[in-house]
Symmetry: C2
Subunit: 440 residues, 2 copies
DNA sequence: CGGGCAAGCCCG
DNA sequence: CGGGCTTGCCCG
């Protein structure tokens, strides 16, 4: 498998990564991509003499190749006011004359590598996994050569969804740039090396706008295969939303623009995306949080424990219709809601096995009693069996010598010292100086 | 206090980073730094077409400079069997003829940036923070020119402490290499760019052994200042133990070797180090885990909840002598211990406010009752007030509209669909096709 | 500085 | 795949 180091020992004249000094005026200071106020975004911290360089491309190398060649980066220097990859690209949905629409193909749901939350309208996908995006557009009016389908292009551009970062280009993080081996046998950099968003398409062109430093991927729009109403493109993401010194936990939108051959935008759609390692967990949590946020609109507490009820609102498109969805307006009297809310009792510690067992038994009995009085055995069953299992465990531990409860003395195990120095030498000859001698 | 950055602004003849093709045969396949079996080490995952490159230096650039110049990397090509930076360097403590010893200076404990666990014999330090290491050695016998103190060198070499990684050189991660700006105004790379371990010392030499690819930092040993018995060197670490594609959560030792001018090792000490963002938390947790591991020797459960008792065994050297340290041998009858163990009741959820309150009241009463019957009000006070506070909170919420308990409907909020596609276009014209239309 | 959350990665 | 641990980073 090809290695990045081939840059060095090249022999032919492929497009190597040469330093490109020509793009120096690309705007904003990069150390400020920390949000100005409290916010959800968490940034890795550079301590001391290290400084953050959010956009490594400013100092790094780009392949220096002629434009338009499919196997190389296409540089754009457009200065149209509506430049689709400009500093402030348009992000508004726009169906346009061809009623441009987006869909996610859920056919391969069995083995699919992504999840879509319909409530959050957000795609959750693992890094380097493919998602098939389907585009639908009306056949252009016959004779309108300008928008002949054969000449249309489809651009996908990632942008930060938070307005404070919208102007910052979305770039790959140093780790993934440096460890990328996808350039294959070629000697130079792949044109997609710095592109977070890639298309699995043989005609994909990787564009870079020199002015905005934005990377986008463009594929030509051909007519869909006979009998199909969609044009399907496979995309994947080569950095995570959380990548340090790259996206830095900042959510992104992918802006899809339908463009004519001369660059007019005739359709735009956007897709919110989170690239992460645990799409299911994160989707679930985000939905829970969003729901509790809306349920508690006006109050401001954050969720502590999520409920166990199966409430993935849109994990599975085919999930059976549930009971009526409660969606009252939120300013309603809160006490009305109190008995459909889920309360989390935080974990707590108990000293001593006998008290631990009696407490478990107490709770076990308590919930059994409630379920009998209220005839709610079904609803209460999970919590009852929860404590039943805890009891089983602590009791069977007696013979298994295996316990979930743990296990530390209440007394501090402090080593005392009257020294100013910690001696790390174990075979030290003990001398009368103010050091602590540790021997074992 | 000398600053590393002083190196940089000298306007002499900075040596630039040139590509160095000369070191190609450095051994082992790098994709195997994943532990072969189940282990504590967690590695970042490279998916799909990306592969791990643990040692980026093999492909990257090193300054190509003449040896020995203080401002540049010193290359070593030693092939002595006892090469201190060879593939398998010695790691055994060795006091040697000068009774070489190590201490950590705790004088500046008020503002010190590190912690040392005497039970774990491990240093916990934040990235890029200085730790003063003090070395003590006997004056060499007069006339023994070979070991005259003036000619002695002190080398510090980081190595992985796990035997399976001992042969792998410890290198900086791509992110920190690429974001390092400590070379200041110079045009090239700092000699310490790839060095995880650095000495804040104006005579520090940054060595790189071409054969083993190991980086070490060497300072000459001068006599201590008058009246002092120590030679003090300030070190800092420029990567975290957890750095992805670098140390990768693998703990390291720093091997300090005392060497004569001609390279003989006449003393060796080692220091276990964890470079992390939360030294205190991690030290505490590691000590708790170690203690519970030793307490439960023979059983194999991992801790779930740590006890709340103040048991930092060695966070503070000056911590007052505690009561007797219980250190029974571990094969003791377990039931003897059961009532001094701490058991964690995991968090659980309750549907409905009234049940939540009654459960809190039940537990509150339960522990009050126990404390009265056992006359253990002092011991039980924390857990009693814990539930008292939870009760206060849920009750005062009535007027504050502020609650810790949260807050989601038990019913799944599932959007139903009979579609194969998820429509992401919000202004779509609804058509009779099998797509899900989301509008808001 | 402590508590808490986010998110990667491991294990069963 | 879920549950759990780890560990960076934020906030009060
Ligand atoms: Zn990345
Ligand atoms: Zn690092």
């Amino acid at each position: 498998m090809p290695k990045q180091s081939e840059h060095k020992s090249k022999s032919g004249k492929p497009k190597n990564c040469e330093f490109d000094d020509s793009k120096s005026e690309s705007g904003q200071s990069k150390t400020e991509n920390r949000p100005s106020r409290s916010s959800v975004i968490r940034m890795p911290v550079m301590k001391s003499d290290c400084e953050l360089v959010a956009n490594q491309k400013e100092e790094s190398s780009y392949p220096d190749t002629e434009m338009g060649y499919l196997d190389s980066v296409v540089y754009e220097d457009g200065d149209r006011y509506d430049d689709p990859t400009g500093i402030l690209p348009g992000t508004e949905d726009y169906a346009g004359p061809l009623n441009f629409q987006l869909f996610l193909n859920t056919e391969e749901k069995a083995k699919r590598s992504w999840l879509y939350s319909t409530t959050l309208k957000k795609l959750y996908i693992d890094i380097n996994k493919v998602v098939c995006v389907q585009f639908k557009l009306k056949q252009p009016a016959a004779g309108n050569i300008n928008s002949s389908k054969e000449n249309l292009m489809l651009r996908a551009l990632p942008v930060y969804s938070a307005p404070e970062f919208l102007q910052e280009p979305v770039c790959r993080c140093p780790v993934h740039v440096m460890t990328d081996r996808s350039n294959g046998e070629r000697n130079g950099c792949s044109p997609w090396l710095y592109h977070v968003l890639r298309a699995e398409h043989h005609e994909a062109q990787y564009h870079m706008n020199r002015k905005s430093q934005r990377n986008s991927v463009v594929v030509p729009v051909h007519s869909p295969a006979l009998g199909s109403e969609f044009v399907t493109i496979m995309y994947k993401f080569s950095c995570k939303t959380s990548c340090a010194f790259g996206l830095n936990r900042r959510p992104i939108h992918v802006i899809f623009t339908l463009e004519t051959a001369n660059g007019d935008i005739i359709g735009r759609r956007k897709l919110l995306v989170k690239v992460c390692s645990c799409p299911k967990r994160d989707l679930h949590r985000d939905e829970i949080v969003a729901k509790s946020d809306s349920d508690t609109n006006g109050r401001k507490r954050r969720i502590k424990e999520v409920d166990n009820s199966a409430s993935f609102s849109s994990m599975e498109i085919y999930s059976p219709p549930s009971k009526e969805i409660k969606m009252e307006s939120i300013d309603e009297e809160e006490t009305v809601e109190d008995d459909s809310l889920v309360y989390a009792v935080p974990s707590f510690n108990i000293v001593g096995k006998s008290l631990y067992i009696s407490t478990l038994e107490l709770l076990h009995s308590h919930f059994i009693g409630v379920s009998v009085r209220n005839d709610s055995l079904l609803d209460m069953h999970p919590i009852i069996s929860h404590f039943g299992e805890l009891l089983d465990k602590v009791k069977e531990r007696k013979r298994n010598m295996d316990t979930t409860a743990v296990l530390s003395f209440a007394l501090p195990n402090t080593t005392t010292s009257s020294s100013n120095n910690i001696n790390l030498s174990e075979d030290v000859t003990n001398e009368a100086m103010s050091t602590e001698v540790i021997s074992d």
